[in-house]
């Protein structure tokens, strides 16, 4: 199926969240949130605990009706049109969702019976890397195996939209690799994927777009490039570790900077106040080579999603105070 057929009418966003709010009594979990998500793309919703990620995703899944605003998934109201929507979406809960005595093989067979187009449970188990654990009761599966089973269940209907709550939480590196592969395949098939995560490196690897929530509001949204470009500026230090101690002030002079621009943090470990330019980097390596000093580690201070996220979220906290 092509990406166009995965939207409400053949084009445009698969998911629309328009001025949505979610309140629980006095608590406002989500306030005036608006965004769209598109077929063939992965949107990562990030934010600290209590930012409104789960409330948002549960409104999109149809578990909760928004207190205000509107949500549409494939053109349908998730809470009101669940009968028509359920066969076309995949849902991965943050935890649980499987009866403890059931084995992966049993639960995949059971869930595939709910859909018109049945699947081969053995193939699904193989794709999720669960063949060896096929007959192990859920209660005895490892954290990573449980996550992979939960993901396999979400992908069972070959969904047009997949909602994944913390898909890589508690998963070992090998498991993450498997999950990453499944999500990339899903994106390539044209599905719209919305995931929440605290794993920023994972989001950076997978997501086409990022939405950062704080205190129930969207504080930043865009592609990774846009997020990095738009996050508040601030000095991002670089770090250097050498084989032997060096004279930090001497290095400053070679880099054309005032003394103090390079500071010795610990023995053989130095902080450069801002990321060095390419020329400074070349000068620094030349200086160290002349001094017969080996570079053991160098973090050039290039910004990544984690830097941008932490800056945004810390800024929000300061504002809150």
């Amino acid at each position: 199926m092509d990406a166009a057929s995965r939207t409400a009418g053949g084009g445009g966003p698969a998911v629309i969240c328009s001025d949505m709010s979610m309140t629980y009594g006095e608590l406002t979990a989500v306030a005036s949130l608006s965004f769209e998500a598109y077929p063939g793309r992965i949107l990562a919703i990030l934010g600290p605990n209590g930012a409104g990620k789960t409330s948002t995703i549960e409104a999109l899944e149809g578990y909760r009706r928004p207190s205000g605003g509107e949500v549409r998934v494939l053109g349908l109201d998730p809470a009101g049109d669940s009968r028509r929507l359920a066969p076309r979406i995949g849902v991965m809960l943050q935890e649980g969702g499987v009866y403890p005595s059931m084995t992966p093989q049993q639960v995949i067979r059971l869930f595939s019976g709910y859909y018109r187009r049945s699947c081969d449970p053995d193939r699904v188990l193989g794709e999720a890397g669960l063949t060896a654990a096929a007959r192990t009761p859920y209660r005895r599966l490892s954290g990573g195996e449980r996550q992979r089973l939960s993901l396999a269940l979400a992908l069972l209907p070959n969904p047009d939209v997949a909602f994944l709550d913390e898909p890589t939480a508690g998963v070992d590196p090998e498991g993450r690799l498997a999950i990453r592969g499944l999500l990339e395949e899903l994106r390539e098939s044209g599905a719209c994927v919305i995931l929440t995560t605290h794993e920023l490196a994972e989001a950076e690897r997978l997501a086409d777009e990022v939405l950062i929530l704080a205190r129930g509001r969207c504080v930043m949204r865009g592609t990774l490039k846009e997020i990095l470009a738009a996050s508040p500026d601030g000095p991002v230090p670089a770090r250097l570790r050498t084989s032997v101690r060096i004279d930090a002030d001497e290095l400053c002079r070679h880099l054309g900077e005032a003394p103090g621009w390079v500071v010795e943090e610990a023995s053989c470990t130095y902080e450069l106040r801002v990321a060095p330019s390419p020329d400074q980097l070349a000068a620094m390596t030349a200086y160290l080579a002349a001094e017969n000093v080996a570079i053991e580690a160098l973090d050039t201070g290039a910004r990544n999603l984690e830097d941008a996220y932490l800056q945004v979220v810390r800024g929000e906290r300061l504002e809150e105070r």
Binding site: G62, R83, A86, Y99, M102, Q106, G113, Y114, R117, D160
Partner: protein
């Protein structure tokens, strides 16, 4: 057919009968794997049947205690399966987020509840066969109207399933476990199952007669015995509970 329509057609839920069959099978399989559930649904009724048939703890109007006990224990079996086993299991399913997960599939709430009741009925067939076989071995010589027996048992099953699902759908799993077990003991004592209503004080007998346990036991006693048809009051109480309890369960139901 447009591409969008074809996609929607391909990605539909399975037909209702198929969803019901797969879910009912799963419900029965899960119930048979729960040891504590088998103790309540089969173990306790059979132990009580044999014990009170042999010990003669209560004087009853019947010639043989087993004639009173067999229908009472059948009523107990229905209550055990429909209310206790179903209710407690469903409460834990909610705690495990299994119900929440099912809520996002095409299974649907009506199919899930129907499958759960179908699973209860299958277990009840096993219970009835075992209890009647043991009762016959203890000298019970029942008869009566099979149609009435089935109708009374179905009404009792619906009423107790409604009570079990009402508690499971509105209480935390551990609280539900305690409340359901407590209710089971109370209804066992005031349900005309092992202690005849004739031995209760008048006020307690009046309350007991308004509860589904005594109505079910009395209905089964008449329909399985040789003392005429099921009294109108038993039908009325069972029908009211069979309508009200599932309706209340549906209103109070939460997937998580």
């Amino acid at each position: 057919m447009t591409e969008v329509a074809r996609a929607a057609e391909e990605k539909a839920g399975a037909p209702l009968h198929r969803r019901l069959i797969v879910q009912s099978k799963a419900e029965v399989a899960m119930a048979l794997r729960r040891g504590e559930s088998l103790l309540v649904t089969l173990g306790i009724p059979l132990i009580l049947l044999v014990f009170f048939a042999e010990v003669h703890a209560f004087t009853v109007a019947h010639e043989k205690p087993i004639d009173f006990l067999a229908p009472g224990i059948l009523a107990l079996a229905v209550m055990s399966t429909a209310m206790v086993s179903l209710g407690i299991a469903t409460g834990f399913e909610r705690g495990y987020k299994y119900l929440k997960r099912l809520g996002s599939t095409p299974l649907g709430r009506p199919a899930l509840i129907t499958a759960k009741v179908a699973g209860v009925l299958v277990l009840e067939i096993i219970q009835v066969a075992l209890i009647l076989a043991v009762a016959a071995g203890l000298g019970w010589n029942g008869g009566g109207n099979a149609g009435e027996v089935i109708a009374v048992m179905i009404l009792g099953t619906i009423a107790f399933s409604g009570i079990g699902l009402l508690l499971a759908g509105s209480l935390k799993a551990e609280v539900n476990l305690a409340v359901t077990n407590g209710l089971y003991i109370v209804l066992l004592l005031v349900g005309d199952m092992i202690v005849p209503l004739s031995r209760y004080p008048g006020w307690l007998a009046a309350i007991a007669k308004a509860l589904p346990a005594a109505a079910l036991a009395e209905g089964l006693s008449h329909s399985l015995g040789h003392s005429g048809g099921v009294p109108g009051s038993s039908w009325a109480v069972l029908i009211i509970w069979a309508v009200a309890a599932p309706a209340a369960a549906a209103l109070a139901w939460r997937w998580e």
